[in-house]
Symmetry: C2
Subunit: 150 residues, 2 copies
């Protein structure tokens, strides 16, 4: 079952890890998952220990992210006009084995992430639309409009 | 462009790696990719150095696999009645940076894999149908019917 967060439309869904002495099988997403709205593109973002990738926002694309390798802190900020959670920030840390979950980030949310494990991390994104530069916005990590210091 | 292999319907498509000093962005699959036929499920298979996961076959599901972490040797064997490549085996090694590609494995092909890097590997599968135990077959790694020794 998906868990709600402080930000409207952002949910966290715990995922199954099937442990095996040759290496685990890790669930990510099915076409009947409650937060699946269509398949546009799957891609990966590697992130080195201590590195920061921020801030990003998609005007149309919904992100479904999981972290099969390493540990990642995601920071999200709701700046959507008319959102009941406008002005809220949320911090979500994902990684195995204790926090192996899928996070849903709807359009209009500013987000960024940093690798908090000693080893590099890998994020997998199954987005509902293929990448389109024209609907993507970005801000520098130290943007004064977003109340979080990396 | 997808490259054909000795086995009918098995293709290899080189994928883009966008290098970045914080960690690369790695392409996997879009809904307009030439080998995309539908989204059923995305899941990951971790494989430890030297471990073998074999043999598997899906009667209906098509697998689209890439290896964003570590290096993996895939071995495929065509035992399909009526296939022009029946009896052929194919070995494909995938891993970054030189062999970062997507392999398409259609239904009816026996396949298995082993991790050939010093570090554990991660395989990502975007399959066109969700997992269904009833269409999945398996054989032990040392099956005498398949001409490959792990």
């Amino acid at each position: 079952m998906a868990k709600r967060t402080k930000i409207e439309g952002v949910t966290i869904t715990p995922l199954q890890q099937i442990v095996d002495d040759r290496g685990a099988v890790l669930h990510m997403l099915r076409n009947d998952s409650e937060d699946f709205t269509g398949f546009g593109e799957c891609y990966f973002s590697e992130i080195f220990t201590g590195a920061v990738k921020a801030w990003k926002l998609h005007e149309k694309q919904t992100q479904l992210l999981s972290v099969p390798v390493g540990k990642v802190r995601f920071v999200l900020y709701d700046d959507r006009a008319g959102s009941p959670s406008k002005g809220e920030a949320e911090i979500v840390e994902l990684g195995r084995p204790d926090d192996y979950s899928r996070i849903r980030i709807p359009p209009g949310i500013w987000y960024g992430f940093t690798c908090i494990s000693d080893t590099n991390a890998l994020i997998v994104n199954c987005a509902d639309l293929p990448f389109d530069q024209s609907e993507r916005r970005s801000r520098p990590p130290k943007d004064p409009e977003i109340p979080y210091e990396w």
